[in-house]
Subunit: 434 residues, 2 copies
């Protein structure tokens, strides 16, 4: 049953994209050449590189590498064994060059979550038909080796749920709003000026980037075809400093939380603001750090925490994949043959959960009783409630419900205006139980 | 450069030791046969088993497996590809059968930290000479895939420091002392009655078990031969409820913390009580859960958290290793060739750190000034200090120092009796900076 030993020939990398991550990879290969060779049992070398602007001043010595202006040309070079795709984007050169590399018999290492979220199934099928591997640890949660933990370390587990805070910018914004008591728009602008936001900020604050990551994890966890289009996405733009504070009063933090789980209703994939217990590892996560929680039927709950972005962490993840290939590890892209991945049946609604409700209650006799009646008639029962002293005429009321369906919550909210005791728009946020 | 695909023949396991972990492995293989085959690309089967007492009633159907009374006989069976060693102990049948298995051309999966801590180098050399692999994820931190994260995920990093709370029983005892306000002896007795302690409790509370784990992580991290004998061990038996509370007042928690780092003085390996910031992930860790912190020069700090023991988590780790072998992953035992691992030069003293000091000060004028003078003359400077109201004549004083060497701390403590203002034995505990 012995597998053949991997080659002792140098493993030759072609790197497309020389932004911070690409330069980070170059630096690691240069700084740690001896260590990498020792650990891989063979040298790891860079033979060729490619980026948009050849003349740009970069923080690394690139003189020893062949230069290609075209990513496809790089990907198909004779002297490249592994195509390292750090271009980004789900179309154009990233996709073209990745496909060309596989067809030319190269393995691929990529940090491109959008590419995999949109074309993961087709790419996996192509790679497996050609006998090549695609590795993408850097695409999810930066430096945290979560793809490896899920695909390999937990391979003996039926996975029950995958959760995570996987967009550092959103977590930074929410943490900063809370710490500084600033409204969303102000902190959003701060983050933009600090360069924390993507060119299209909706990728961050709209949850799209994190949704890509969740779709990838979900495919591995549940043996399904990557299905980004069925991820329920809701960004953080509607989270108010008020809700952050009120949630805190009730013992919760608000996070942009990804949750994937297989239920009797089908596959549930959500990337939405949720409340989590303030004392839980997810609740304690502040700033730009990422955290992924993996729940398996044997292992229970595993929590992984680390930097979700940045030159070093992301380059570390790329190099982990490169080293796996150098050492001869060859797995199907999503941990089982691409042709065996099942099509997603999306759950039409999320599993029942407790909800946090915030209402402005008019200062009228019996107001609270009317709200309670509407909730009860909608099938929503109250677990905890807190009423605040009112300014002007309206008093904020916080309610933590028992487990309820989203339908019941929405139905209740739709009935509230008729009571004439609720002012403004009620807020309802799911509480994810950990 | 393509490595040959792994076999599609069934991978046949021989399991020695049918305690909770062994039964856990049997259950996973039986429950998840189809899933495992899908993920591994080949069936995973159990062909033979072995345990001390054949007649014992076990919580699994073992009727389909051949039975061996002798572990060596099991390990060398024709129809076994992987010897799964769950016997335990660093001598006797565990060692004999592991060696026999390797010599007979089997791969080995083991949960045996003592065996690896004591004989890791010899076993790794033997395995590599025979072209076999030894995998041991379950030996360190139970279900947390930390061996994989360190050896593979972080393979592109120079490792700076490895830290961890890796004995759940100790962390349970310390947490319980704090929560219930009970002294060590009482909680120790509770833990014994709950069955949380090894037959020889020093393995737990003396730090030996956790020290084994640290020695293993250290070898991978720094490319050194496993060297348990150079681990500085100090158990939790001398931690008082007083110190737990006082440390809490100063913003710290006391943990039995393993730390391995390569310094200019040599390799530092410590498994000793330390103070860590209460707000850090390590500080927030309560109960029997384990946590490992890996620091790499590219990735920064990665934190892994999960169950450190128990049937499911440990069996999950064993199965992760089995699946790696089934999938054709073949790495040297400690991540680089055993013959390339360097001999340990132990650091003669730990790197400088802040220390927590607790003294009982006599109620005499100028007492505090005398202590401060002794500390200053010993090269220990004070960062923060807190004096408590005194009962009888002696008042407790807490001091957090700036970074100091252990030698300076010990020298200062040796000078204190001569001041005649310090009563009883001063307590000094290292503060590990995170």
């Amino acid at each position: 049953m012995s597998a053949a030993a991997p080659s002792d020939q140098p493993l030759r990398l072609g790197i497309a994209g020389l932004g911070t991550v690409g330069i980070g990879v170059v630096k690691i290969v240069q700084r740690h050449a001896e260590m990498l060779a020792m650990r891989a049992g063979r040298p790891v070398e860079i033979t060729a590189i490619c980026a948009r602007d050849r003349k740009k001043n970069r923080d690394a010595d690139l003189s020893g590498f062949a230069w290609e202006d075209d990513a496809v040309a790089l990907a198909t070079r004779e002297d490249v064994d592994v195509f390292v795709e750090l271009i980004g984007g789900d179309q154009g050169p990233a996709k073209d060059a990745t496909e060309a590399a596989i067809r030319a018999g190269k393995d691929v290492v990529t940090a491109n979550k959008a590419l995999l979220a949109h074309h993961g199934q087709a790419l996996a099928e192509l790679a497996e038909a050609e006998g090549r591997v695609i590795r993408y640890e850097a695409a999810v949660a930066g430096g945290i080796p979560v793809i490896k933990a899920l695909t390999e370390g937990l391979a003996g587990n039926g996975i029950r749920r995958v959760m995570g805070v996987m967009n550092g910018t959103c977590n930074y914004i929410l943490t900063r709003m809370e710490d500084a008591g600033l409204p969303y728009d102000t902190v959003f602008e701060e983050a933009r000026q600090l360069g924390y936001l993507e060119a299209d900020p909706q990728l961050d604050v709209g949850g799209i980037d994190a949704g890509h990551k969740l779709a990838i994890l979900s495919a591995i966890a549940f043996g399904t075809q990557v299905s980004f289009s069925t991820v329920t996405l809701e960004g953080i733009g509607r989270i108010s400093i008020d809700d952050i504070r009120r949630a805190g009063d009730m013992g919760y933090k608000i996070k942009l939380l990804g949750v994937a789980q297989m239920t009797r209703r089908g596959l549930e994939q959500r990337m939405t603001p949720c409340l989590v217990p303030a004392s839980s590892p997810l609740g304690q996560l502040t700033g730009g750090t990422n955290m992924v929680v993996l729940e398996g039927d044997a292992v229970g709950q595993i929590v992984l925490r680390g930097a979700g972005a940045g030159e070093g962490p992301t380059a570390s993840a790329v190099m982990g994949d490169v080293m796996d290939i150098a050492r001869g590890l060859r797995l199907p892209t999503f941990g089982q043959p691409a042709t065996s991945l099942t099509q997603v049946t999306p759950a039409m609604a999320p599993a029942p959960a407790p909800y946090y409700l915030r209402l402005q209650l008019a200062d009228k006799p019996g107001a609270l009783a009317k709200v309670a009646t509407v909730l009860g008639e909608s099938g929503v029962s109250i677990s905890r409630m807190r009423q605040y002293g009112h300014a002007d005429t309206a008093a904020p009321v916080l309610i933590v419900t028992h487990k309820a369906t989203r339908e019941a919550i929405d139905f209740a909210i739709a009935q509230l205006p008729a009571t004439r005791v609720v002012e403004g728009e009620p807020v309802a946020i799911r509480i994810e139980e950990l």
